[in-house]
């Protein structure tokens, strides 16, 4: 027997090893797997390795995912930047359209509340190349029955008048141009004068005597004497007033925002605008949506409120005649006999 074992030593060892393990199995089966100590030591032996493996794996995967994430972040950042640029452009475009829509809504409201006065909406398409002149081009011309000396307004107030007409466009002389003049009166005192353009950006009201009491903020309306602008349209407010040689130097803040006009209305006749309608229009314009269109649009209701409902049209003065007309309210004429005419165009300026 020992000879056989020594001759087949590996096989005997194998049988012995297997037998030991079978006995171990049998022992466990009998004791319901109760070899906790063996398992405990085995786990204690392998757990550090597993922990190290897990730690290494998490580090490597963390570095890898960070790298991949970083690469993705860069491309995503690039994509988002492009998207932001596109959205910014789109937003700008939409804001522009919304603003245009609001402006057009204001014009439409104004137009609808004055059905008695034919008017035509026009878009400002250009301006004068000469920095010293205040001229605009609108997209309405002869084809739209536009003619010279038609009044151009916005719901805020007077803008200017048509001075040249072309087939599909027309030239508008703004009220702050040096060659412009508008028959005007103070809303409160009904004192007449002429609003003329000046060397600075704002027009001046001229031919108001020094003894006339003028306060900043006082509303100035059209007098209608120039036969171009209907009566009682808002021109603006007194910005400052100072005594001059004979007449006061009154700086006027135009009611219309002459430096940022985009849409205007051309009055096709000198039909006076009904005050009640004007008031309604002003209410419409004063809505929250339209309020942002211009700070000075409230000049219209105030002007309308001061107007009597059945006032007769004021007498107009011929351009060649020199004296400003007396106000409808009976305010004493303040201009001296040698006053220049309160008419448009300004006779002292060269004709366009």
């Amino acid at each position: 027997m020992p000879d056989i074992l020594s001759r087949h030593r590996p096989l005997a060892l194998l049988a012995g090893l297997i037998l030991i393990q079978v006995l171990l199995l049998a022992f466990q089966i009998k004791r319901e797997h109760d070899v906790r100590l063996v398992r405990y030591w085995a786990v204690q032996l392998l757990t550090p390795g597993e922990r190290a493996g897990t730690w290494s794996f998490s580090k490597v995967s963390g570095i890898w995912s960070s790298y991949v994430g970083l690469r993705d972040t860069r491309s995503e950042n690039q994509r988002l930047k492009t998207e932001v640029e596109q959205l910014r452009m789109r937003n700008h475009e939409l804001e522009s359209r919304a603003a245009e829509g609001q402006r057009l809504a204001v014009l439409m409201n104004f137009r609808e509340t004055h059905p008695e006065a034919p008017m035509m909406a026009a878009q400002v398409i250009g301006a004068s190349a000469d920095p010293t002149s205040h001229i605009l081009f609108i997209n309405r011309g002869e084809r739209d029955r536009i003619r010279r000396n038609l009044a151009v307004i916005t719901p805020d107030g007077v803008v200017g008048k048509i001075v040249e007409v072309f087939p599909s466009s027309a030239q508008v002389l703004l009220i702050n141009d040096k060659e412009s003049g508008v028959g005007a009166l103070f809303a409160g005192t009904r004192t007449h004068g002429v609003v003329k353009g000046s060397s600075d950006s704002n027009p001046h009201m001229e031919y108001v005597q020094n003894d006339e009491k003028v306060q900043p903020g006082q509303a100035i309306l059209t007098s209608g004497e120039d036969r171009i602008f209907p009566k009682d349209l808002s021109i603006g407010t007194v910005e400052s007033a100072a005594a001059g040689n004979t007449f006061q130097v009154i700086r006027v803040q135009p009611a219309a925002r002459l430096d940022r006009l985009e849409e205007v209305l051309v009055l096709m006749s000198q039909q006076e605008l009904a005050p009640k309608k004007t008031e309604e229009a002003s209410s419409a314009l004063s809505s929250p949506q339209n309020r942002q269109m211009g700070a000075s649009q409230s000049a219209l209701p105030s002007a309308a409120a001061q107007k009597t409902a059945n006032r007769k049209p004021a007498a107009t003065v011929d351009a060649s005649k020199a004296k400003p007309a007396a106000s409808a309210a009976g305010t004493p004429q303040t201009a001296p006999p040698d006053n220049p005419p309160a008419t448009v165009p300004n006779p002292s300026a060269p004709q366009r």
Partner: protein, 174 residues
Amino acid sequence: MLSTGAHSDSNIEVHRYYSGAVLIVAFLSLVLQAFLHKYGRWAELLDLPLLVTIYFGVSRRNPVTGMFLGAAIGLLQDAVGHAYPIGMYGIAKTSVGYVASSFGARIDTEHPVSRFGLVFLLFHFHQVLLAITQRVLLNHPAPFFTLQLLLDSLVSAALAVILFALLDRLRRSS
């Protein structure tokens, strides 16, 4: 002890490994096997301790060391697992270690194709031993052969060709 090779009686070369390489590789195979199980069931396709047992068995070509290495690896695998009582994998891997060493002493196992075939056969031999042990000792109806086992054996054999080539680098040049 296990890292030093023993000369067999045949003319086939017996490979020696750097000191501690066998123990470290065996230990790592167990750690990796347990570790990979955390990351999905695909790891069940592999039996790294079995591959290591086969590799060192056929390389060392000594049935005694092969069976002891298989027994150690198998018992540790049993101990860290909880599915079976300790000894299930021990018996199977002891036998595999012995058979692999015996094969290694008789045939050339350096060629990838022979390695693939050997691992494929020993995988199923290992599975048959497990099934027998479970059936006889635990009264569990374990299958001898399934398609899943066939797939596992093919995957293991393919992986073994790569793994054995890597482990060949641990050999000491004679």
